[in-house]
């Protein structure tokens, strides 16, 4: 445990419109689900403090509308999540944070494309599908 200081991690969620980025974010930060989300215009923003492996981490979660999903790489952690049922949301974000912290020590230099953690399309599609049915 090298440091006990606060670490700020920025997490940006990108994806096609209507797949449930806002839902996922809100489930993680506020542990709530609503079926009344408006389409997010521009970017939305929430902050959450979590403990990851004994380190206090402030997670800023941004939902961003992106035109295209860039490249995907191998070995990306895969989670099937549901924002509605709060399945795997916590775990997914924990992994994100842990991986990010690991990278922090590994890569000091600025990297234009840091390893993305892919939350596969399907799970988000599932999320939104469920969101619609209720």
């Amino acid at each position: 445990m090298t440091s006990r200081k606060k670490v700020l991690l920025k997490v940006i969620i990108l994806g096609d419109s209507g797949v449930g980025k806002t839902s996922l974010m809100n489930q993680y930060v506020n542990r709530k689900f609503s079926n009344q989300y408006k389409a997010t215009i521009g970017a939305d923003f929430l902050t959450k403090e979590v403990m990851v492996d004994d380190r206090l981490v402030t997670m800023q979660v941004t939902t961003k509308r992106a035109q295209a999903w860039c490249q995907s790489k191998n070995n990306i952690p895969y989670f099937e999540t549901s924002a509605k049922e709060a399945i795997n949301v916590e775990q997914a974000f924990q992994t994100i944070a842990r991986n990010a912290l690991k990278q922090e020590t590994e890569v000091e230099l600025y990297n234009e494309f840091p390893e993305p953690i892919k939350l596969d399309r399907n799970d988000r599609a599932k999320t939104s599908a469920e969101a619609c049915t209720c």
């Binding site: 419109s17 408006k38 970017a43 923003f45």
Partner: protein, 1222 residues
Amino acid sequence: MWVHPEEVLQASALWITERANPYFILQKRKGHGDGRGGLAGLLVGTLDVVLDSSARVAPYRILYQTPDSLIYWIIAHGCSRKEITEHWEWLEQNLLQTLSIFENENDITTFVKGKVQGIIAEYNKNHDVKEDDDTDKFKEAICTFRKLFGMPEEEKLVNYYSCSYWKGHVPRQGWLYLSINHICFYSYLLGKEAKLVIRWADITQLEKSATLLLPDAVKVSTRVAEHVFSVFLNINETFKLMEQLANIAMRQLLDNEGFEQDRSLPKLKRKTPKKVSALKRDLDARAKSERYRALFRLPKDEKLDGHTGCTLWTPFNKMHILGQMFVSTNYICFTSKEETLCSLIIPLREVTIVEKADSSNFLPSPVSISTKNRMTFLFANLKDRDFLVQRISDFLQQTTSKIYFERETTGSVNSSDDEAKEFLKEQAWKNHITEYGQGVCMYRTEKTKDLVLKGIPENMRGELWLLFSGAINEMATHPGYYEDLVEKSMGKYNLATEEIERDLHRSLPEHPAFQNEMGIAALRRVLTAYAFRNPNIGYCQAMNIVTSVLLLYAKEEEAFWLLVALCERMLPDYYNTRVVGALVDQGVFEELAREYVPELYDCMQDLGVISTISLSWFLTLFLSVMPFESAVVVVDCFFYEGIKVIFQLALNVLHANIHQLLGAKDDGEAMTVLGRYLDSVTNKDSTLPPIPHLHSLLTDDGDPHPEVDIFKLVRSSYEKFGSIRADVIEQMRFKQRLRVIQTIEDTTKRNVVRTIVTETAFSIDELEELYVLFKEEHLTSCYWGGTGGSNPTERHDPSLPYLEQYRIDLEQFRGLFSLLFPWAPVNGAHADLLALRFFRLLDHNGDSLINFREFISGLSVLCHGDLTEKLKLLYKMHVIPGKCQEEPDSAFEATQYFFEDITPETSNGRPCPRQHARGYTMFTPQIVPFSLYSPLMLTRALCKLHTPDYRHYLRLWNQGTKNKLDNMKDLPKLNQSQFIELCKTLYNMFSEDAQEQELYHATATVTSLLLEMGEVGKLFCHSKDQEEQDQDDPEEAKTSGPAQDGGTKPEGVFQQRGQGEGKEESQARPCGPAKRDGRGEQLSAMEEIRLEDSSPKDTGTSSSMLISDDETKDDTSMSSYSVLSGGSHELDDKLHCEDINDDTVLVRSENRPHGGGNGTSIDKDWAITFEQFLASVLTEQALVLYFEKPVEVAARITNAKNVRKVGCSLLSASDYEISLSG
């Protein structure tokens, strides 16, 4: 055509005199008309081309000469003998007699000259060539402009101004020329010339700047330089025009509205200054109309006719107030001199009577206007009253008075909520109506505004929104439009509708109206109808949120027209693909913030908050960030005041949070601060059941933010920032628009380059430069029109993916080709042909346009491809018919065929069989024997030559291309005429190479080798043909063919078969001479072949007539080895002496009558494969080196840029000191 008499020196050198009399001679240009012309004719023709003399167009002329003088005057020229003969006869009949009267020769000359000039003047008067409003002086300026900057006629000069251009520290006095697409400057002083040409589209900043040194200067910035102009006579006028033109250019980049001169311009009184062009007047009028429309929120096509000072009687305060009356085709508007006092909009469709009342001293020249809903307006102090009334009644007559819009009186909303406040509000509005009138024509005063700011009562919102936004006008003039649109758009599916569908339930989910299918369906209809109306916008997220609110207060059709008003007038460019308008306003907002909340500016800049968070403020008018009942009040104000109120509120929100924002550690915290603040904005007057807002719904941490009253917020925004004027915002928008659009252009460039960089060996810099050149080519054609056909502007579609945005056609490609491509021959005619071939090859989808990726893929092969790739490209270029205007189908199919291997993104190694089926199945039967024997032949050839290099290359080729081998076999064969074209191309390619001679030799060897191979191959082909013929059914023969060759493409065959027999005939045709055309011809061809077969001697001489040696006669496949060597030496010698005139050797074979006398086909069975071609080239080191050599594209780019910058090639770049930019 008569011309102004001009002295000509040589009367006879290049002309033949056809007729003569003592005073006149009629001449014809040498070499014109008579088919061959001989050597002299040819020479003259060349001269004409080189000198670009007018004689090319007008090969006939009439000269005047006095008998004793040596001087000739040209007085007429003509394109045809008929034309010139008419002139001649007129001279003989009318002038000859008269001339004999004169004694003095000088008199005769004067007379003749005068007469001819008279005729010309007369002619011009009668024909009045075109109605041109420009004055002579301006015409002169246009000429100077064109000459100085090499601009084509299509480039319209708008105006020119005297000013100084700062070059370093020295001002250069000269003229600034402003044309539609360029800003140009020229000065010539003390032997020094300064010249500047900038495209408006390249301008990134345009500023009026004032420094101590230069109190009045205009700074024009591009990506690469800044230019300062000063000492203007009237800087404001010049600057305004510059802005306007830059704006037009940005529009063009943005949404492709090309500039079109407005022909229906009202003819103004001719008191305009002498040197002003019609175009300038047009632009001025346009700008005025634009301001007029913005001021009164009138529909987009409304044109201001005129305006005049007057007074208006305002009954509510019993006063005559001073102001301006505006008259346009469908409206009469009035605004008081003191802006907020009163304004009035009277649509002519509402007007019943316009009459001149009696003049009195107290009220001079009054006019009263009555409307349908019995309001009467009294104007007075009208200067040109008679003219004005006449004008209005003219317009009235054109107004078809459709009584359509009868909004039934409101009250549909249940008034069970008899809350006092709401009731009072309604009461206040009712009073307002009685006092100031109802409907469009109401007097709009400060009082109106006050009421709006207090919030419009729930049940009047729809009506008043329509009124204030001006949507009511569009709706009234387009009855039934919306229903039509709904009907038409019903059941249409596209990207827009898909996106709409996804967002329907995410628009205003908290409101009960959108929790059932009825509300959702209405929303769907309105959005879909709009997407259908305006495909440029289609659908953009945020429109759903705004529209859902509109639907709550207005009927469906009204909501639609409100949306139209928003998207097309009140929030310009907000909802296009790149939300340009919102980005522009974000920029304006940042600028305003710097000015009005300076203490925040630096920290906000660091936090980047303004850009992240304010986007949704603008795009949704705060609807997505504030609680609904509060945001509706913002919408009320917005419809009345326009965008100004949104800026005020946004500034006020920042201002109210200064301290928290200053204390914020990062952008996240700042965003949270603002988010919480906006969440807590409440509307205490609201009678609606409270709808929890998203954020408040979800965030429950910490103490709730203190409530902020929306009305107080609005009030204080007026108090603090109310001084921001709409026209200032407009000005700032212009500046930001330049920035935003140029940034988008840069981003597009970067994205395109980034996508493509992995596919080529070009560096990023090179690609960026190439992209710029490519885009410029596109823009130039937008300016001056392409080759007709498709309109270039239609080709630029900003909604397409980046790579597809700009596309060029053949004409434009040709220019780039000769500038950039390594193979482009210097010889013009062939360059064009080669460009055409190349273009066809690159144009994968056959739409006669190529995009940047296609362009780069071609250039990349030429510059960085290995030998095989280059040769393959060269080969394929010639499989595609060269001059196939007459058979576009085959060209298309040929390009279809090649689609695969040139594009990396679609290539999966093998072309798909379906495409084979269409054009080239007929080739397949022949492939088998060829590929079987050709390696054998190659080896033999190589053994003989014994040079290690070839083996090396062959080995390399074998290793590197094993996987490609399959599709290499699939390449169709070249027939003889195609091969001849290929040879021509080869000969033309080397003309400037250092190794020219060697290359020619090598080419000669290779081509003769290939000719031989083709010959040999024919024998195989014949036997094959015979086999085919043995089978009775030709159809079956064809299908069995491919089946034999290991079933490479059986699917293809079935496809073709399935297409039916009738089709088959026509399909077979385009494939050219290589195929036997149709059944009947095939039969005769077969007979012929049999004949040939029986006498191989004939075959040899007829098809490869170049080889005269006896060796050909005993030629069988077995003896090919000796033939090769012998033949090639022969040919080598021949070509050696003839290679200057490259075509002759091979073309001769084309002219030679052959076989059944079928002119187009040379030798139907002669063909070579790509492998043969490749292998043959590999035998010549010079060629190998040439094709192996990578090409440095950087130098070519620089060169191309220089050529481009001078504009047109009319100028030789070196003559001038040119500083250019862009």
